[in-house]
């Protein structure tokens, strides 16, 4: 589609790419206008990342043409594409942790900058231009995720980029940091820089993208101005089927007190106490780094924390390690699926069975037929899409991998299920299934502690929300009654809130 008077900066024509066994891109065409924010949405495996990797030179296309800034490009290396003015900011940021901000921005180009003095001066200029106040001599390892992202953007600007691709930039940002990113994106747009913005999150797409392309199964399904899409239409096009709602109806089955937690104290958490009721989904809201993950890790015995008291159904319970927690009826979905949750080269079956070894062993010996049953049962119950239970879990999509972790704990029938970012980086369809599972869990007497950076997720799924700010609980809300502003205010440490 072309608008009058606009100029196409990037034109992708009929690009195809195959990998053994899959056609990742099939005749894909997209035009990106100068000075626009072009959103690309699609489920995992839709081909978004493959397309971006072709643009940045990581992969080579099989056929088709790419015209960037009036020149046909046949990129060979990521560095060349950077120099031609096409920068890409990956989900997992590519910065050298042990070097300073300035050094990272001009990595490998210190001589062009006339030494370190020039490097830092020029880096300061770039950071100022995006209103980032981070010192250029600070080590990258000391930065927050959003600050790192700013550094990446500054780095992209240092190449005089005309097009910046952002691959799921918000997946580890909090709402506040997100606002900052939006500001910068708008600013870049005014400078005539185009942005390709890849995301799962529809809110973001609707908030600031100008044009949206929907991808599914290696095809571009539709490209339209944002205003021409309705939310429902976008979802339908992404998943190729109709999902009535993004969230199932909120489960309403809160019962008596199940767990009381008294005064967790660590160097990050200050005298934290709260209760959890039967059949309840308790949302923990807060900025990344506010201490949400630390709270649940302390509860679960993953970090060595002493001195707090936990009462489950009135009985004092001591949890020194995850094994104690498991015995006490906890389940735990960790924040980072691949690093903390799964054993990627292992089969679906062993990934599912690993928390319930005791269930399929006798006198220290394994009974593999029982293990097989466990694997098959959970794969069926959770509708995990996998060729077989023996398939390595690394070959599954993000959503199905997450289901394996849920299945692992379902097998232990937990009473208290801790879920730390359970839907991070998984597609809309799989998200909905996870939400349904959460509903199922609480309706069968379990309770869930939900941590999420996605505000709508917390608001739509929780029965009660606790806001955490700098290691303290700053508010307790009923998400059906409280306003978003109240909750966010408390999560940002601005006002104290109550039910």
């Amino acid at each position: 589609m072309k608008t009058e008077g606009s100029e196409v900066i990037l034109s992708i024509n009929n690009v195809s790419k195959s990998f053994p066994g899959v056609k990742a891109l099939d005749e894909v065409s997209i035009d990106v206008q100068r000075g626009t924010v072009h959103g690309i949405v699609g489920e995992n495996g839709a081909g978004k990342s493959t397309l971006m990797k072709i643009l940045s030179g990581v992969y080579q296309k099989d056929s088709g043409t790419v015209v960037f800034d009036g020149k046909q490009i046949e990129h060979t290396t990521p560095y060349q594409s950077m120099q031609s003015g096409l920068a890409i900011i990956y989900q997992e940021l590519n910065l050298v942790n042990t070097m300073s901000v300035g050094e990272n921005i001009f990595l490998g180009r210190f001589r062009e900058m006339k030494g370190m003095k020039g490097t830092h001066a020029k880096a300061r200029e770039l950071l100022d231009s995006i209103a980032c106040k981070v010192s250029t001599t600070k080590l990258v390892s000391e930065l927050s995720v959003s600050e790192k992202q700013m550094v990446e953007i500054a780095k992209a600007l240092s190449f005089k980029s005309k097009l910046i691709i952002m691959d799921e930039p918000s997946s580890s940002l909090t709402s506040e940091e997100m606002c900052q990113l939006v500001k910068i994106i708008n600013q870049l747009k005014e400078q005539g820089i185009s942005i390709i913005y890849i995301s799962h999150k529809l809110d973001e797409i609707f908030e600031f993208c100008d044009i949206v392309s929907v991808m599914r199964d290696g095809h571009v399904i539709d490209t339209k101005e944002k205003s021409a899409f309705t939310r429902q239409e976008l979802i339908t096009k992404m998943v190729g089927r109709t999902i009535e709602n993004e969230y199932p109806p909120r489960p309403l089955c809160v019962g008596d007190t199940l767990m009381e937690v008294h005064s967790i104290n660590t160097h990050k958490l200050h005298d934290l106490s709260f209760t959890l009721n039967k059949g309840e989904i308790l949302g923990l809201m807060g900025l990344v780094g506010a201490g949400r993950t630390e709270i649940v890790r302390a509860l679960f015995g993953a970090d060595k924390v002493r001195g707090h008291r936990v009462l489950i159904e009135g009985k004092p319970t001591v949890i020194r390690n995850p094994k104690d927690a498991k015995d006490a009826g906890f389940g735990f979905i960790p924040e980072d699926r691949k690093l903390q949750g799964l054993i990627l080269p292992f089969s679906v079956e062993s990934n599912i069975s690993m928390a319930s070894i005791r269930k399929f062993s006798r006198l220290g010996f394994l009974r593999k037929s029982l293990e097989k049953d466990i694997g098959a049962r959970q794969v069926k119950a959770l509708a995990v899409k996998t060729p077989s239970t023996k398939t390595a879990v690394r070959n599954l999509s993000g959503g199905n991998q997450q289901k394996c972790i849920v299945g692992r704990w379902m097998e232990t029938s937990p009473r208290i299920f801790i879920m730390d970012e359970p839907t991070k980086g998984i597609d809309v369809g799989a998200k909905y299934e996870i939400y349904n599972l959460m509903k199922h869990i609480v309706e069968h007497g379990g309770a869930i502690i939900l941590i999420s950076s996605e505000l709508p997720e917390v608001l739509n799924m929780s029965n009660r929300v606790l806001t955490i700010f700098e290691g303290r609980i700053t508010g307790e809300f009923d998400p059906q009654k409280a306003s978003v502003n109240e909750i966010m205010g408390a999560a940002l440490g601005i006002v104290e809130g109550c039910v």
């Binding site: 498991k326 070894i357 010996f365």
Partner: protein
Amino acid sequence: MQKRNSVLKVTASMLRDYLVLVMIALLVAVTAIVEPKFMSGANLVNIMRQFGPLIMVSLGMTFVIIGGFIDLSVAGTINLVAVVTISLIQPLGQVPALLVGLLIGAVCGALNSGVILSSGALTQAEALFLTFGMSTVYSALALLYSHGSTMHFWDIQKSKSIFEAIGAGRAGPLPLSFVIFLVILALLWIFQTKTTEGRAISLTGGNKTAAHLSGVNISRAIVVVYTICGFMAGVGAIVLFSRITTAAPVIGAGYETNAILSVVVGGTTLKGGKGSVLRTVMGVLLVILMSNCLDLLGVSTYLQVVVKGAILVVAIWLDNRKQA
């Protein structure tokens, strides 16, 4: 086209998986043709005897590597166990000496895991350096204990029949040391594949964090793998000095690298999680057959070292390719 590709892929992965077996068969065939003596009964028994010390050490090493770690201290452990055990035959008698020797091996291994756990060194690289350090400690203890001198069987007046049997005895047509190996192999195989602790070791090696967060006791798994490794190094030491009837405090030199070589060549991945003691047997067989055949073909010892090094590099390279 796609179908042919996948057939090729499957064949390639089969070849990689069973490369050791193919190479063993090739080695046997080539050597048997070039040098008919190779298939003689005497040479076969000789090969079985050579199996002795290296297989014991390698079997232990397999567990450490499946658990995601590595152990360079086995050389030091062998030195220490050998000199202490042989010196105790005279004052204590052979059975207590044997038991003390085995105990020292296990304690050395457990000590390694203690150092690793207490320092929080949960990466393979850290374990590499820590156990290297422990190896020098055990070797130095062996030197201090023995005053650097070599001890011989013929200096011992008391009965040393057990050790003589291990070194040169037969059980039917097979060398006794080979029978001992078969029994230990069966036990370790059952332990690795059939028990919950064996599973805990694989899970730990696969992803320590994920295993820990699933309630697997990874500390215990680490203690178990190192203790097994130390114990098996002790067994290896006893088999070794029984065969050569002397024990010098440097007797174990080179065993750590040869054991790692055998484990990796056998197909157990250095990345941890996956592997098998049976694979290690094939790895050891390949390493031994190769030196045996190179000996028979008259290849110089120095060149043999080059070949061994090259094989280790290729094995690790193939393993990395497989993961990619």
